[in-house]
Symmetry: C2
Subunit: 390 residues, 2 copies
């Protein structure tokens, strides 16, 4: 893939900067995107129109082969050992980085908002000017996906759908014990067992995930509760899966809500109005609109049906208590927002659309797809039925 | 667990600071340790003798239940919406955090070296003094494990051993095809297949891992090469597994090297001298010594046998080209170092001991255990045979 860094060039020009500096490991999406290199420990990338990577001896050989960089240097090239011996580990590291920057004439740099404070202040002590880039220019660049990236993300969502299907199958196959708990293959069907099947399915497909949400009943009323313990009939079960491709680094994200048995009337009503809210969001969605317009469409549907939303009552603890969606890419939560925030959605951006309603008295409902914003509309590459009752 | 923050109190006293501030998500070990809370998006923790947590509305309910905090507030308590509307998203956030700090009288704070630069500079603009804590005081506190933590880490290493055993079994069961590649259950045995079995084993035990190393031959010559493609007889295969408990957050770490068939003489020699180097490291290891003394013991064994080390030749690209070990806990790489760095090992610290030799012409060998430093010695809770030839 050949990223388009013209927006970054403009940022450097407009702000009279010599370069853009990142110091982070592979889990940092901007680092991965800018350098094309992955390593488990932090390394340094300078962009000044070209990409310059600085690594340890350990990563040096692989970086030379794999980084998408004009130059690859290692700490030893800037006498890091001698600097550390003379000035100590901390100042020695800062002096080494300063020497690297001097090699490329970078006296004044921008750095991401999450650049490590200690390194920034240390470079400042060495006479380098470091300005936090609050706008997150690389996040803005990454927000618009190349076709190659969308292909990676579609593949991820396909794997996601396979794991959701495995989870749904377990719920369908389960029996209901006298106490209302679900039983599968002779054992109580717990949140943990369903999560394990989801994660094994994804792992065999080459996807990693840290947390999966399989939340039943009152657990489902807390949108970030991962869920635990026995699953029960007649209660809403929210399954939210957001795996990452181990090879490409791209994420998928999807949520479905199920009930085994008979949902109570409130949950049924929530499901219907949430489907309506999701449709309204998609109707509003196209390149050129603000994420806030899409979020308003969702909040309006909920408000009209009498349900509280954070937009209208920032202190509510029930109802629609999160945002409509977020960008997805090399990060699970990235630019843009589909919330009260005003930001323009552009062709090629990938966002989730995930309305939901929550109340500990009844449980929770959420339905989430992931779509590509397009001129005049969108492309929903999530292909999974929405059916509440199993 | 009841962490001992007296070292943090002393740091604040010595530096005339009102508090220690962290702004990070659950993947940040210091954040997890200080707040006792896990959330996928960044939240804020202030320590001033008490722990004060600040979250979004979404996490608020769960934080009140789960954080190990004297107080839990949410952004709405400090009029974040109004501040964002008046000053924009970035400055609005900074003003909200500043109001939170003002609530607890914190005008001057220390923050970890990896505190986000944008937030630090933003708080500075609001009149808060923010100093990077280059020593990483919480990392120093976390380095000494409580019995409860060691129990978590021992459990993790047991799960790790089970997955290593599954991998070793596949290698033992494999046949050798005419072209030297391994065949298992009728299909070529690749690095990817072995990794998948390791990761499924760990997943079913409740452990997550992003990367696993199963590196054969020349791949094994690069210590961070994860390996790929068919495994081959008569070449060294390095298997390095470092899983994290999804529930507790603690890591395990272990490496074994295997050869299916006949290793060449160099690999045999490497294995013997690496076992010797590992023994020398453990002989040197006890509370009160510096990590550099343990590293020296390893380098001396290698040097005496005629192999290059980074200690003696910082530019070498073959031989012993990394450090002897590192602390492990809520991070996979944490304080202390077992390297040329001078830092004192204390009773209760957990470190890896992982000598190795590498040369693309022959492959690589590494053997790694994880041990608890003790008065007068250590406690090696890794229980896995070291045998090169399968």
């Amino acid at each position: 893939m050949d990223p388009d860094f013209s927006r970054l060039d403009a940022h450097l020009d407009d702000n009279d900067l010599d370069g853009y500096l990142i110091h982070a490991d592979e889990s940092d999406a901007d680092q991965r995107y800018l350098s094309g290199f992955t390593a488990p420990d932090p390394f340094t990338t300078l962009y000044d129109g070209d990409v310059h990577v600085l690594t340890s001896s350990l990563e040096y050989g692989r970086a030379k082969r794999e980084a998408r960089a004009a130059t690859v240097d290692r700490l030893a090239d800037f006498d890091s050992r001698a600097k550390i011996e003379e000035y100590g580990g901390v100042e020695g590291q800062h002096r080494t980085l300063a020497a690297f920057l001097a090699e490329y004439g970078a006296e004044s740099v921008a750095a991401p908002g999450d650049f490590p404070l200690g390194v920034a202040d240390g470079l400042r002590e060495q006479g380098v000017s470091v300005d936090a880039d609050h706008d997150g220019v690389i996040g803005h660049i990454r927000a618009v996906k190349h076709d190659e990236e969308i292909a990676h993300m579609e593949a991820a969502q396909k794997a996601n759908e396979r794991s959701m299907a495995a989870a749904e199958a377990m719920l369908r196959e389960a029996d209901v014990a006298d106490d209302g708990t679900l039983v599968h293959e002779g054992e109580t069907l717990t949140s943990e067992r369903v999560k394990e099947e989801i994660e094994v399915s994804l792992l065999r497909d080459g996807y990693a995930l840290d947390t999966t949400i399989v939340a039943c009943g009152a657990d489902a009323a807390d949108p970030h509760d991962r869920g635990s313990g026995p699953l029960r009939a007649n209660e809403s079960i929210i399954i939210d899966i957001f795996p990452r491709s181990k090879e490409t680094g791209y994420y998928a994200d999807m949520t479905r809500t199920f009930v085994k048995g008979e949902p109570n009337d409130t949950v049924r009503e929530w499901y219907d109005v949430t489907q309506e809210a999701k449709e309204a969001a998609l109707d509003a969605l196209e390149a050129g609109v603000s994420g806030s317009e899409v979020h308003d469409a969702v909040c309006d549907v909920y408000a009209d049906a009498g349900w509280p939303t954070l937009r209208d009552d920032p202190n509510t603890e029930t109802g629609f208590i999160h945002t409509t969606g977020h960008g997805v890419g090399l990060d699970i939560h990235e630019y843009p927002r589909v919330s009260t925030t005003d930001n323009t959605l552009e062709d090629g951006m990938v966002v989730t659309i995930e309305p939901g309603l929550y109340d500990p008295e009844f449980g929770g409902v959420r339905i989430e797809d992931i779509v590509v914003v397009r001129e005049g509309g969108y492309d929903n590459y999530t292909d999974y039925e929405e059916s509440l009752v199993l």
